[in-house]
Symmetry: C2
Subunit: 230 residues, 2 copies
């Protein structure tokens, strides 16, 4: 049973001048036309910026590649859905009947979108500073646990070292296909590890780049699903 | 001959407490280790946010898809490089000797990165409000010329109508390849128009999605290179 949107704001310690914004942020497009998609667009943008600024300040010597990877670890659908679950956002979602029956309140994409929309709603209602503080509070624990030294290494190296440290078999990379003209090819590579039967695919303009991307995705999966330290 | 970074700031009407930030923003990685890549990371994030917020406010009834497309029209490498050229940023770039010889000061990617870095430098030095105002000023003309009604339509429709309005042949979409397992396929589609021999490729989980992406890229190319109205 969906709970009142107003309750969520007070549970989260947020005050809104316009409570209709909270309701809209929690409303999935399956429920009604006045839904959270616009707020999600805004929330996604402010979230990306606030985390970028925070990482820029915190890791004063990290290069751009490291900063991008750190941000991708913090801000992605799985990570946002996990935060949304901690906030019990699922109990407050307003879903259409189809989504309700199929358990949409548990789905990563819907939870993640609702969290971004709530961030957007807070920005509209309370302005940048309140919004920034709430974002940094939501991510405080994860930001504190980031270690920049690990991220200086490329994803393949990090994945390999993660496996070695746990006494697991090394990752395997399989070239699945090569597409395009000789001067403009895309390589598709699959990464497999012994910890899960799920695979991750990377694509790139060289086999090496595709392997790095596949390794990066696999690392993100292991961080989110198996609690690897980022 | 590269001009003094300090001159650029005064030409642009910007004042910096720390002039070293301007120099860093103009320094390409080919020139030295203390280059603009970190500032570019920050500038890219704040730019994306400021434009998103502006579009959210200006187009109060546009849905998320329209807002995303409008933002992609405003903020992309070609568009940023064009703004950088208007500001004569190329005259102030600090490049390594290789990039200098090969005309790096004219290259879209280098110009676009330097503009983003300058935006980042302004944020660091002068704070959010000054930075926001400068961004909105840089994009004022383009934002004013955006028409939301055109953007309600999907990219294929818009591309087709653009061609028809000019009495040109209709766009052609060619399925180039299909990659992956039956339940998880990627379709690669090429879009061709009679106006240019260059093609644009789209990729998507269905043929239709790939066609829409290819049309979107082709539209962006025509807007930037042939002065189509966005």
């Amino acid at each position: 049973m969906t709970q009142e949107p107003g309750k969520l704001a007070s549970k989260l310690g947020l005050s809104f001048k316009n409570p209709a914004l909270v309701k809209r942020a929690l409303t999935h497009r399956s429920a009604e036309a006045d839904n959270n998609e616009r707020l999600e667009f805004l929330g996604d943008a402010v979230l990306g910026f606030v985390i970028a600024e925070c990482l820029y300040e915190k890791f004063a010597t990290a290069d751009e590649g490291v900063l991008s990877r750190l941000r991708a670890t913090l801000v992605n659908q799985t990570a946002l859905a996990n935060i949304a679950r901690k906030l019990n956002l699922g109990d407050f979602l307003i879903l259409g009947s189809g989504e309700l029956k199929s358990g949409g309140y548990r789905r990563d994409s819907i939870l993640s979108d609702a969290l971004e929309a709530l961030i957007g709603a807070l920005l509209v209602d309370q302005g940048m500073e309140v919004c920034r503080r709430w974002i940094l509070n939501l991510f405080a624990e994860q930001i504190d646990s980031l270690s920049v030294t690990d991220w200086r290494k490329d994803p393949k190296t990090r994945l390999q070292e993660s496996m070695q440290a746990r006494g697991l078999e090394l990752p395997v990379y399989i070239l699945k296909s090569v597409v395009g003209q000789p001067h403009d090819q895309s390589f598709f590579v699959e990464c497999r590890v012994s910890l899960t039967s799920e695979t991750c695919e990377g694509v790139g303009s060289s086999r090496k780049k595709a392997e790095q991307q596949a390794a990066e995705k696999m690392l993100a999966k292991l961080i989110q699903e198996f609690g690897f330290k980022p």
